[in-house]
């Protein structure tokens, strides 16, 4: 082992990686070892989508900021629990972000706050459109969502972006629970194939 090469080169090999996925995985391994520089890099790459999805679910900017902070701290604290064999770093962080946002929504105060706004949620397709900027990710996701049936698309966006449980989605769309369950799963299978996820 040459101690001199550890600092200078450790991120160089990482950044030459193909799609940046393994690069992020490696950064998280360094984060787990208390490397603040690696944590800053993870922050810069993932705070946008994490904050974005939290904001979609909670809508309120200051609450979203609070939850985003909790999420990033959880990433720092529990990085040692990240297991690349189970999924990529981005997926791990986005799962934490969405789950935390949902927890917040389901906590009483936030729920009361949201009751008034439920009506707005009736146009999930527009919500997506509104979030879509020129990014390729967004374009791809929008195209794949467009390929779904209306019920599939609405139930997935109401659940994921709207933060509703599938029971609430069933009420909102006036479709039976069993059907919603199936539409969500079928829709996600189609999305998966459309996005080319393995």
């Amino acid at each position: 082992m040459n101690p001199n090469d550890s600092d200078a080169s450790r991120f160089t090999s990482a950044t030459t990686d193909r799609r940046g996925e393994r690069d992020l995985d490696l950064l998280l391994v360094h984060v787990a070892r208390g490397d603040t520089e690696a944590f800053e890099a993870v922050y810069d790459r993932l705070v946008g989508p994490a904050y974005g999805v939290i904001r979609r679910v909670l809508r309120d900017p200051s609450q979203s900021e609070e939850v985003a902070q909790e999420v990033l701290l959880e990433v720092w604290r529990t990085a040692a629990r990240f297991d690349p064999a189970v999924g990529g770093a981005a997926t791990w962080v986005m799962t934490i972000a969405h789950r935390r946002a949902i927890d917040r929504v389901r906590s009483t105060t936030a729920a009361a706050d949201r009751e008034h706004k439920t009506a707005e949620v009736h146009t999930p397709h527009d919500e997506v459109a509104e979030a879509v900027e020129a990014s390729l990710d967004a374009e791809r996701v929008r195209r794949c969502l467009d390929g779904l049936t209306d019920v599939q698309r609405e139930s997935i966006t109401l659940a994921y972006y709207g933060g509703h449980s599938y029971r609430q989605v069933s009420d909102l769309l006036k479709v039976t629970l069993g059907a919603i369950k199936t539409r969500i799963r079928d829709g996600l299978i189609r999305m998966r194939d459309c996005l080319g996820v393995s």
């Binding site: 902070q69 799962t95 996005l195 393995s198």
Partner: protein, 250 residues
């Protein structure tokens, strides 16, 4: 309400969207997930879809958030690397080429013996399952293409054998012939690196002079594997001089 298995399975989509309310239904699905490989891999695929949806909704947070998060992180203690005792779901199942690439036949034998010994020691089904899980995790480690085998003597007697899979950031350790410790003392493994020293777990009690394999994750470039004698239960940081300091070729 009892759910049929295929009904449970169809909850995978709602689960991946965090759209199951807390309660019996979600608990039942979570339990099912730990036993159902195909459900777990379906949920993994769906989570990649939702990750793409999160990126599609990316939004810029206020700039002050960065400083606040970094300052909070500086005050927040991290969890140590996980010592895995359960097999995890894998993307692929790998057959284990035990012998071909391993050069140190004696050392290999000591790991195989340690693993088999674990089987012999298991008395209950739970213990047996646990040993199987450990064995599987070690098999996966051994089958990693870049796995390296290292052996090193321990200063006050005995030998440590390490299988290091740098690409997986994992290693497994077995020892033979370490001196028995007085009551109230344990052997503790460490990953010594910059900027921190982290515990890599306690050595289980030796049987016939061998300690069963310990798996540690989170190994990074520049780490040295250390072994110290610590009070029972282990320490947060080493309190005695290492009796093993093995630089890891990561």
């Amino acid at each position: 309400m009892r759910l049929l298995r295929h009904d449970l399975h169809s909850l995978s989509g709602a689960y991946a969207l965090d759209a199951l309310e807390p309660g019996a239904e979600r608990d039942r699905f979570t339990r099912h997930l730990s036993r159902c490989q195909s459900c777990a891999s379906e949920v993994r695929g769906f989570r990649e879809v939702t990750t793409a949806m999160a990126f599609a909704a990316a939004d810029e947070p206020p700039a002050e958030l960065r400083d606040r998060v970094l300052a909070a992180a500086a005050r927040t203690r991290q969890l140590p690397p996980e010592i895995r005792t359960h097999a995890r779901p894998r993307r692929t199942r790998t057959r284990v080429p035990w012998v071909p690439w391993l050069s140190g036949v004696v050392a290999t034998a000591s790991i195989v013996v340690a693993v088999l010994f674990g089987f012999a020691q298991a008395h209950t089904q739970d213990e047996l399952n646990q040993v199987r899980a450990e064995n599987q995790a070690i098999s996966l480690l051994l089958s990693a293409p870049e796995a390296k085998l290292l052996t090193h003597t321990v200063t006050n007697g005995g030998v440590a054998t390490v299988v290091l899979a740098a690409d997986r950031h994992e290693l497994a350790v077995v020892t033979t012939g370490l001196p028995a410790l007085p009551p109230g003392k344990v052997y503790q493994l460490w990953l010594i690196g910059k900027p921190a020293i982290t515990s890599a777990g306690l050595l289980p009690p030796a049987k016939d002079g061998r300690t069963p394999p310990v798996l540690a994750t989170g190994v990074v470039k520049g780490d040295t594997l250390g072994l110290t004698v610590e009070p029972a239960g282990g320490s947060a940081q080493p309190t005695t001089k290492p009796i093993l300091a093995l630089p890891l070729p990561v």
